[in-house]
């Protein structure tokens, strides 16, 4: 029974994938609404099941391990999954490949779980690949759009390249430590030429997935080209999960190289924040805009990562939770606008508050959260990251973070300005609201407001990170 509980996330996912196959065999997926609603209910159940009692431990000779924090991270991912499924409702009703969408998405999630639970670099690698490859396929799902295909090929090829780089680093690391289970790496890792070299290569692999500058260049193009649900998934689940794993990688796996990675991470953090924000400055496409914004956000995450302690990981996990809600909400609104107009231009948001106050407010809350403006939860998320970052006393890093707070505020306020201050030449008609999207947006909204004030959430995260 313990084992079942330990593996419940993976088991449920496998069952879900199986169920979809069965449904497809029974022709169940032809009834679009029924199928999608069933899926949403199943994902809700999946989310609820994640909160069943916890069982810690490791299995399969450290290939799989679990603890409170990992369970929490998986739960956060599950929440994101559910919300993305809800926000993609309209797109899915129009798409021919809703069934495949779910299969691929769930496989990717499976990869994420593997990655999160990994106790061995092999599993880390497998999880990473497994969470990426299906998405590359998914981002090509708008088959008739060249942008979508481009996104797919860019993602898969650059991902393959990055995997190659990372594997090269792993192979050298293997040469240095002899066994790639976490325990062995931790025990045998010493800073020397080879390990530092290997570390840089491995770091780059993770940095690629998190779209950290200068490994980020695929991000904007892929985000722009992919269907919006996939973009959402990429920006939230892929990125969030890799951030979670990254914590383990740095704090545990490469704890022996702390001096070195502190420097590396600081530099990457500064680059990410600055370049992400600078690029976001000019964007007119909503998805590209959010792509660069998410690059900058990761830069902030790295600031928190530098703390290398409980507060570091707690603040990062907390932030990812908030970031997930904010981004899903923002993409939800963008999706609603794009679905009815067929365009993702930010210009469409002009005067949105007058024509669609609900969407405008949700978008504003999401953007404020991303910008880190009180009383939205993003404020706390961002500031806790900075609080964690200050622990190492890196004034230069903090200075850049400060400047980037300003830059990012400009970026988000630009959109807020469109929505609240500017008038549209041709106002949008009131967008239709479906129950699924509205539910998801409300969940995000409430989450974004509540998470900052209901402190047990942070305390819970903190207590888990303290283990």
């Amino acid at each position: 029974m313990d084992i079942v509980l330990m593996f419940r996330f993976e088991i449920i996912l496998a069952v879900l994938i199986l169920a979809i196959f069965i449904m497809s065999l029974r022709g169940f997926d032809t009834n679009v609404k029924c199928f999608l609603n069933t899926m949403n209910v199943l994902l809700l159940l999946n989310f609820i099941a994640g909160w069943l009692p916890l069982s810690e431990g490791s299995y399969f000779s450290d290939f799989f391990r679990t603890n409170g924090l990992i369970v929490l991270q998986k739960n956060i991912i599950n929440l994101g999954l559910l919300l993305i499924s809800l926000t993609s409702y309209v797109w899915l009703t129009q798409s021919k490949y809703r069934l495949e969408f779910y299969i691929l998405m769930l496989s990717s999630i499976f990869g994420v779980y593997v990655m999160l639970s990994s106790g061995h670099i092999l599993m880390l690698y497998l999880g990473l690949e497994m969470s990426t490859i299906p998405i590359a396929a998914m981002s090509n799902f708008n088959l008739k759009e060249q942008r979508s295909s481009e996104a797919g090929i860019k993602l898969i090829l650059s991902s393959a390249f990055s995997t190659g780089i990372m594997l090269f680093g792993i192979s050298l690391l293997y040469g240095a430590v002899g066994n790639l289970s976490f325990a062995s790496v931790i025990a045998n890792l010493h800073p020397n030429v080879l390990t530092l070299f290997a570390f840089a290569f491995i770091l780059a692999g993770f940095a690629f997935k998190m779209s950290i500058v200068p490994f980020h260049l695929w991000t904007a193009d892929v985000y722009e080209g992919s269907p919006i649900g996939v973009t959402n998934f990429l920006s939230v689940i892929s990125k969030g999960s890799v951030i979670f794993v990254f914590l383990t990688v740095l704090y545990t796996l490469f704890g022996g190289l702390k001096e070195a990675w502190l420097l590396g991470i600081s530099i990457l953090s500064i680059l990410s924040m600055t370049i992400g924000n600078l690029f976001a400055l000019r964007q007119q496409n909503a998805k590209r805009f959010l792509a660069f914004s998410s690059i900058a956000q990761v830069g902030f995450v790295l600031v928190g990562v530098t703390a290398a302690s409980t507060i570091g990981s707690a603040s990062v996990v907390y932030f990812v939770l908030i970031y997930l809600l904010s981004n899903i909400a923002a993409f939800g609104v963008i999706g609603a606008v794009a679905d009815s107009t067929g365009s993702e231009s930010l210009q469409l948001f002009k005067g949105l508050y007058k024509s669609n106050p609900f969407y405008a407010l949700i978008m504003a809350v999401a953007l404020f959260s991303l910008a880190g403006v009180p009383p939205i939860a993003g404020f706390f998320g961002k500031l806790f990251l900075l609080t964690a970052g200050m622990k190492s006393g890196l004034y230069v890093l903090m200075g850049f973070a400060g400047v980037n707070l300003v830059l990012s505020l400009y970026n988000y306020l630009r959109v807020v300005k469109y929505m609240f201050i500017d008038d549209a030449e041709k106002p949008l008609a009131p967008l239709n609201r479906n129950r699924q999207l509205t539910t998801a947006l409300y969940i995000c909204l409430i989450g974004l407001i509540v998470i900052g004030f209901v402190t047990p959430i942070y305390q819970y995260i903190d207590s888990l990170c303290g283990i």
Binding site: F60, S61, E100, S107, V114, M123, L126, I133, A137
Partner: protein, 174 residues
């Protein structure tokens, strides 16, 4: 210098030469064949090292699977004998510089580091038998979990590839 060493160096040279042909050849089909050969010689090196299983895997999956897939796709997307468009010289130069710099750097790094073999251990024969047992074992050093995981990956890849590449009838009508 023993025979195996000499064979190794020959194989290594071949691997590099055909690898180079893969990336330098202007004819795509020729490039594909060079890749095939290069991979095959790598398999040769594996055989030389007595890791027969991996060598076999290399031939089956790489040579028999991946490269064939690639060649198929070349057939699908190219007219025969078509030369590849020339890359810009600047780009080539830049790529070359980066590759050479990287190679130099890497060589320097591995030459700096003294690799230490694990002391006094009993080697395990990389036989198919041993590999098979470990592959499906769930005790220490058992790889059944990743083995299962990769199944799902392959499944997903299958589904994804089908969705994208399959030619549905209604597509052609449009």
């Amino acid at each position: 210098m023993s025979a195996s060493t000499i064979i190794f160096y020959i194989l290594a040279t071949l691997v590099v030469v055909f690898g180079a042909l893969t990336v330098f050849s202007r004819k795509i089909f020729r490039a594909a064949i060079s890749l095939l050969l290069s991979l095959t010689f790598i398999a040769g090196i594996y055989f030389l090292w007595n890791v027969d299983f991996i060598g076999a895997l290399q031939i089956i999956i790489y040579v028999g699977g991946i490269v064939v897939l690639i060649i198929f796709s070349i057939f699908l997307t190219h007219h025969s004998g078509q030369s590849l468009p020339k890359a810009k010289t600047g780009k080539k130069l830049l790529s070359g510089i980066m590759a050479v710099a990287g190679l130099g750097f890497t060589t320097w790094v591995v030459s700096q580091y003294v690799f230490k073999p694990a002391p006094g251990v009993v080697p395990v024969e990389p036989s198919v038998h041993n590999i098979g047992i470990q592959m499906l074992s769930y005790s220490d050093y058992g790889y059944v979990f990743p083995f299962e995981v990769i199944n799902i990956l392959l499944l997903a890849a299958l589904v994804g590839a089908i969705v994208i590449a399959i030619k549905k009838s209604q597509d052609t009508e449009e």
